[in-house]
């Protein structure tokens, strides 16, 4: 069997990749496999291996033709839904907002819940607590004003001002 890439040497590396219900096979000689970086199983796709050409599979051609020009692209990194389908990974943290539709369904199959209940960065935690405190104070201020309790209202107003000055914009 000859190598699919150089078509000269005996193929010694045989790869099979299954994505969804499609199976792709590639046979490479040792040199081409090294050149294509086959040592790293996580970071290549067989279709890409063959000089970026997609391999002939039954549905590949009509699907590619039908791919709309207006496909959603992540504004931060340019990643597309098709990229995600191929790699199973996102392009950047903003992709979680860009591709939020359907994310829940996928996460349900992977995780125990859909909401993070673990560690929160301290700075963020403190900022969140400050916002919460500000809200409570504001409510008390409204109440104090409504009850014409102006002494307390003045105190609350000062406290709110102090908090706002302390927090970064």
């Amino acid at each position: 069997m000859l190598c699919n890439v150089c078509k000269q040497n005996e193929a010694k590396v045989h790869l099979t990749q299954i994505i969804g219900d499609k199976m792709q096979k590639v046979d490479l000689c040792e040199e081409c496999s090294k050149e294509k970086g086959v040592g790293d199983p996580a970071s290549y796709s067989l279709a890409e291996l063959l000089l970026g050409q997609s391999l002939p599979t039954d549905e590949a051609a009509p699907e590619a033709a039908a791919a709309p020009e207006t496909e959603t692209k992540c504004p931060a990194c340019g990643y597309t839904q098709a990229d995600f389908k191929k790699a199973g990974r996102f392009g950047c943290s903003e992709c979680y907002i860009t591709f939020a539709d359907g994310l829940g369904t996928m996460l349900k199959t992977m995780h125990k819940g859909l909401r993070h209940t673990g560690k929160v960065p301290t700075a963020l935690q403190q900022a969140r607590e400050a916002v919460q405190k500000l809200k409570t104070l504001q409510k008390r201020l409204e109440k104090a004003v409504a009850e014409e309790n102006f002494e307390e209202a003045a105190q609350l107003r000062d406290e709110i001002k102090r908090l706002k000055d302390k927090a970064p914009a």
């Binding site: 996580a42 990194c77 790699a87 990974r89 992977m110 995780h111 125990k112 993070h116 560690k119 700075a123």
Partner: protein
Amino acid sequence: MNIHEFLVPPAVFCQRTGPQDRIVMSSRVRLARNLRKLPFPAWAKKPDRLRLLEAIQPAVESLPQMDPHFSAAMDDLTAFDKQILVERHLISREHAAKGAGSGFVLNREETLCVMINEEDHLRIQSLRPGLQLKACWQAIDELDSTLETKLDYAFSPELGYLTACPTNLGTGIRVSAMLHLPGLVLAEEITRIINAANKLNFAVRGLYGEGTEALGNVFQVSNQMTLGESEPQIIERISKALNQIIEEEENARSILLEKKPKVVFNHIGRAYGVLANAHTISSKETMNLLSLLRLGIDLGMFAQLDRSHWDEIFLLTQPAHLQKQFTEKLGADERDILRADMLRERLRTVPRPQPPK
């Protein structure tokens, strides 16, 4: 200082002990972290990755927990250096394949290490001998809390830490233990255990993680779900499962000894026979036979061989560690001969196994 001067010699490395280390070889917790709005390593172009490395590496190096440290860009390490790090379980095989734009920082005690631009911008790892998941978590939590003041982490209040692969989303935590389970393998109970672990949503893998064989009856058990549970809950849940597996392994050993002692002694005696007398032996056969030797040590069948000595032999017979003992470049065939030479020499003064009294 190069990595070989930095790493403690195998003989010292293998003196480390920990709770339950008869069955649990090591514990690990790793966290996946990324920087906000910047492309993840696999999607980032090379200049982006280099910029990311430039931003992340000094931040990691400046951590008090990492002082003193070894720090390098992956393209400054040779394939041989990287293989040594893989055999010490300090980097993943995927990270070993990385070049320019990826990096690695390791602390003096070799208990904390950070892979930069592996699948995520940061893969922080905390390692301990034996079963010490809570200690691993405490150390890594502290390191992470310091690092978050220096780097702008990608974090969402609903989804938690945002990772390249949605399977790591949320806590970004992977808790794992390396278990030596020869009893369950010999008793043909291992498939049942693996299935039970899978049902509880734990992954069971081989010695070097994802996609690797369980050579030498060594299995890595880890959590798969990272979202919807807090880190302590995940650690609690996997600890329970691990304790159950440990108990099953101890049971399997007792039952084997009681019902089929000759089968057990036969396996261990033959393993000793081959290891002490072979003139060429592959790394794979060595690991599988050494597993039986370790079982013999656990059962008290070797008066003059202890576990730290065993750990050293296990490490020194791995391809890169074996190569390190010789200056000239070895081919696979030569390695097999030199491996056998070393094993014969190491076991020369070890009397053959005796059934436990």
